[in-house]
């Protein structure tokens, strides 16, 4: 091969593929999985699966940001922490029940993301990623520190109360059902948001920012809104993780989780609704069920991410493209005649 042969690899045009592909199929499969899980899994495995489902909501936000404008949302663990503690504070101090406290956490996550969204408009993709890393590092470190130990419980964290409905505490399968409904609602809303007019504007922005501005799209407003939505998903995920595991500890939400969440989104496939669930299952739930040590889990994440990005850049759910036999398409002459 000539050394100068492969020089145009960086000029591959981006394609305007839709996001959240196959939403109906995805939602049906998700509903089935959530329904049959309690009958197939033992208690410990069900807890792991529920925690995985809660994490996948944060991954869904990361995937949506990446698939629409190519955003590297590395702020997500910080938003998860903020969401979990806002909900906890609302329940313990303000006397809220679980569902209103979750709603408050979502609103808080979205509001805190607004200034970050404003900064996004002024930075390029990689600068925002660096800022995201720094923000997550800062929030995780502050919440683990002695400065906020009264609110967060420091490095040891705090127990998360069980969900309640009309004053009745939900335990066991009832608690799982509450979590499953929340996860399903999060997945149900994603295609609605990202296949709306706003979602299409975001895809145009990814294609060409100047073109989007020239046809009247307020690109700054849409970036801010996207950051808020992605962060709201992160905050909601934080609440659900607290509910699933019964515990919130800031050291679990550090910078390495930013990379893991992005890896889960990319491995599953950012353009597919179920991509986030698939990525979480492969990189989080299965290794946990196999009782792999943390180092081996990280190694698995690294190897799977690398292999996927090299051989299946659109994620595991694009596997069908490789096994499907392509149909012969008529040539232009045949079509015109």
């Amino acid at each position: 091969m000539k050394a100068t042969g492969n020089i145009s690899r960086f000029s591959r045009p981006a394609t305007a593929l839709p996001v959240m592909m196959h939403p109906v199929t995805g939602l049906i499969i998700l509903a089935l999985l959530l329904c049959i899980a309690p009958f197939l899994l033992a208690d410990y495995q069900l807890t792991l699966a529920a925690t995985g489902a809660a994490y996948s909501v944060a991954v869904l936000g990361v995937a949506a940001g990446f698939a629409t404008v190519g955003m590297l949302a590395l702020t997500q663990p910080a938003m998860m922490l903020i969401g979990a503690y806002v909900s906890l504070y609302a329940v313990e101090t303000l006397g809220f029940s679980f569902f209103p406290s979750a709603l408050l956490a979502i609103v808080a996550g979205a509001l805190i993301a607004l200034p970050l969204g404003w900064i996004t408009c002024r930075l390029d993709k990689f600068s925002f990623a660096v800022l995201g890393f720094a923000f997550t590092y800062l929030v995780s470190m502050l919440m683990s520190s002695n400065l906020l130990v009264g609110i967060t419980g420091g490095e040891l964290g705090k127990p998360f109360p069980p969900a309640d409905l009309f004053g009745i505490e939900l335990h066991g399968n009832a608690s799982y059902a509450a979590l499953a409904v929340c996860v399903f609602i999060a997945y149900l809303l994603a295609p609605t948001i990202f296949r709306s007019t706003m979602g299409r504007f975001l895809i145009v922005m990814r294609q060409d920012d100047v073109l989007a501005k020239s046809v009247g799209v307020d690109t700054n407003l849409h970036r801010i809104l996207l950051t808020a939505i992605v962060s709201a998903y992160g905050a909601f995920s934080g609440v659900l993780i607290g509910l699933a595991s019964g515990f919130v500890a800031p050291p679990h939400f550090d910078v390495s989780l930013s990379i893991s969440l992005l890896a889960m989104a990319l491995v599953g496939g950012t353009r597919y609704l179920l991509g986030s669930a698939a990525g979480t299952l492969v990189l989080l739930v299965f290794p946990a069920m196999l009782n792999l040590p943390l180092v081996d889990r990280n190694l698995t994440v690294g190897v799977v991410l690398l292999v996927c990005l090299i051989f299946m850049p659109e994620g595991l759910l694009s596997f069908g493209k490789f096994v499907r036999i392509p149909r012969a398409t008529p040539s232009s002459e045949e079509r015109t005649t």
Binding site: T4, F10, R12, G70, F126, L309, I310
Partner: protein
């Protein structure tokens, strides 16, 4: 006190600047943001450590062997994650995230159990008294090495034929290829050079602080910040930004006496710096 803090901050800042230099070198030449740059440095520091403590090689030989290893590692990484299936720069950058996790996990598996380690003294220890304050030789030598490495990279990229080729590829890949520049070979050289500089940073960090698989995380973050403040283009601005960040962190950790407040200040400086840099860039473009 002030001088000692300043020396500590400058030596730390130069390390940030050198990490930024490796990032900029690759971004300018190949468009790839190498998230694994610092982890490769950490791996090289562990290899030097093993050569020194288990094989009892002389310090110079151990360091030289590690530098050769790092260059080969750079070539292997380029072939293994870039050349194997070319893609757009964002995808290639994300592949280096996978590499970061792999290198970090491998280091944990091999050396993690007993970490952190004290790196053997390959630089002279002691103090020099400047204006009545003691400043460690190690800090001064780290500053000297960092300046030397920066100068060597500058000479290589600005005053040699290889540097001319690197700049040609960074300026316009397709035009450079049309004019007969061996683009893939130049990419390969850039990866080798970047990992060699990262290796030097890893050894210096291990010598200045301690040796552990997670020792490079804060250095990488600050290196990213410095590179971004240099717009991923200017190594000189990135070096200055790295030194400024180092001094701010060092001074604030001493004077606030609260590591959390020091980190908040660093984050604010980074945010403001990135926004101001963006505004200045917009102004320059519009004029």
């Amino acid at each position: 006190m002030l001088l000692a803090t300043l020396a500590g901050g400058i030596s730390l800042g130069f390390l940030y600047g050198l990490v930024a230099l490796t990032l900029i070198l690759l971004v300018r030449t190949t468009g790839v943001l190498n998230f694994a740059a610092a982890e490769v440095g950490m791996l090289c520091a562990f290899i030097t450590f093993t050569a020194l403590t288990q094989f009892h090689l002389p310090a110079l030989v151990a360091v030289l062997l590690t530098l050769v290893f790092s260059a080969l590692l750079g070539a292997a990484v380029y072939c293994g994650i870039v050349l194997i299936r070319p893609a757009d720069p964002l995808t290639l950058s994300l592949r280096t995230l996978g590499l970061l996790l792999i290198v970090n996990s491998v280091a944990y598996k091999i050396w993690g159990a007993n970490s952190p380690y004290t790196f053997p003294n390959i630089l002279p220890h002691g103090f020099v008294t400047l204006f009545g304050f003691n400043v460690g030789y190690v800090q001064l030598l780290v500053i000297a090495f960092a300046i030397l490495i920066s100068l060597a990279v500058w000479v290589l990229t600005e005053r040699t034929k290889l540097g001319l080729l690197l700049r040609a590829v960074s300026s316009d890949r397709e035009a450079a290829a049309d004019l007969g520049v061996p683009v893939i070979s130049v990419d390969l050289m850039a990866w080798c050079l970047a990992t060699t500089v990262a290796c030097c940073v890893g050894i210096l960090v291990a010598h200045l602080f301690f040796l552990a698989p997670d020792m490079m995380a804060p250095i990488l973050l600050a290196g990213f910040a410095a590179a971004q403040l240099g717009e991923m283009k200017s190594a000189r601005i990135a070096l200055v930004a790295g030194v400024a960040l180092g001094i701010i962190q060092s001074a604030s950790s001493v004077y606030f006496n609260q590591p959390e407040l020091s980190q908040i200040l660093s984050f604010l400086v980074l945010t403001v710096g990135l926004i101001v840099r963006g505004k200045l860039h917009d102004r320059v473009v519009s004029t």
